[in-house]
């Protein structure tokens, strides 16, 4: 068995709660201080947030690996972590709870219960989580599934039954940030969708044909506002 070591470097200047520090890790220098809610300067990150970040990153990586292992489709995972400090201020102040809430894009909606089970399994497998679970309640919130997102840049609706396509497209393009776009791939000219977009969403979206049949249509839909 090998023994691994990890090192980070911190610097700290000032005194008491007014002090600020820096953390060198992964080639980055990250400023930190005590959080303002705990009487500190609130500059940069904080030890409390770094603990949350350690758990959240470990959990996210673990979840991705388990989703792949369980053959649950995904193309992006976003995890929010809420950390609770109880009995503050005072000598008994402590981190009492960590709640991770995963959002999985590109999942299969009819398999939500499986995604939830895997999300809870990821909590149990999370390496960093192992070290804190005896002292802190570590919980998993409800998994939120989203349609395949613009991060991939392409939404291919051809495998879907026609009745499901428009709703998926609408929900996906609503997730687009202003200035971004996706390419819609379809097996017929999606003109009906364009009429519906114009009628329901005005001119918030641009529409440009990239390919026009005869078997495949590709349209770049961009969010303008």
């Amino acid at each position: 068995m090998a023994q691994l070591t990890f090192e980070v470097m911190t610097r700290f200047t000032g005194s008491g709660r007014e002090a600020v520090g820096s953390l060198e890790t992964g080639g980055q220098v990250v400023p930190w201080s005590a959080p303002s809610g705990m009487g500190g300067k609130g500059e940069g990150t904080s030890p409390e947030e770094l603990l949350a970040g350690a758990v959240a990153t470990c959990y996210t990586g673990t979840l991705g690996a388990l989703l792949t292992r369980d053959k649950l489709p995904w193309n992006r995972i976003q995890v929010s972590l809420q950390e609770t400090v109880a009995d503050h201020p005072g000598p008994n102040a402590r981190i009492s709870r960590l709640l991770v809430t995963p959002e999985v894009a590109g999942g299969e909606f009819e398999r939500l219960a499986e995604y939830q089970r895997t999300a809870e399994l990821a909590r149990d497998h999370c390496f960093i989580g192992h070290h804190i679970r005896s002292d802190i309640a570590y919980e998993v919130g409800g998994v939120r599934l989203l349609a395949a997102t613009p991060a991939e840049g392409e939404l291919d609706v051809r495998p879907l039954p026609p009745a499901q396509r428009h709703q998926l497209i609408f929900s996906t393009i609503e997730e687009l940030e202003v200035g971004t776009a996706l390419t819609l791939v379809n097996d017929h000219d999606p003109l009906p969708l364009r009429y519906q977009l114009d009628a329901t969403r005005g001119e918030r979206f641009s529409w440009d044909y990239l390919e026009s049949g005869p078997k495949t249509w590709k349209v770049r839909i961009g969010r303008k506002s």
Binding site: H188, L191, P192, Y195, Q196, D198, T200, E203
Partner: protein, 75 residues
């Protein structure tokens, strides 16, 4: 059949006939407006006009697309 469903069917038929009469672009816009009016309150009725739009646009796709042009004007 409810009165609303009957009216939706009637409007669907009228729009298809408008398209058959050569006013395809106008029929498409009206069908989309009907869809928008029903989308939130009666999505199952709204879907009827998704079918209308597919019927209208699949007949002569190239000519409609040319008619739609860069961006439809407000109607």
């Amino acid at each position: 059949m409810t009165a609303a469903t009957a009216v939706v069917r009637l409007l669907d038929r009228a729009l298809r006939e408008l398209g058959d009469a050569g006013q395809t672009e106008r029929a498409c816009r009206l069908a989309a407006e009907a869809y928008a009016a029903l989308e939130k309150s009666s999505p199952e009725l709204a879907e009827r006009f998704t079918g209308t739009l597919h019927h209208l646009t699949c007949v002569p796709p190239a000519s409609i697309r040319d008619a739609v042009g860069p961006r439809p004007a407000a109607s």
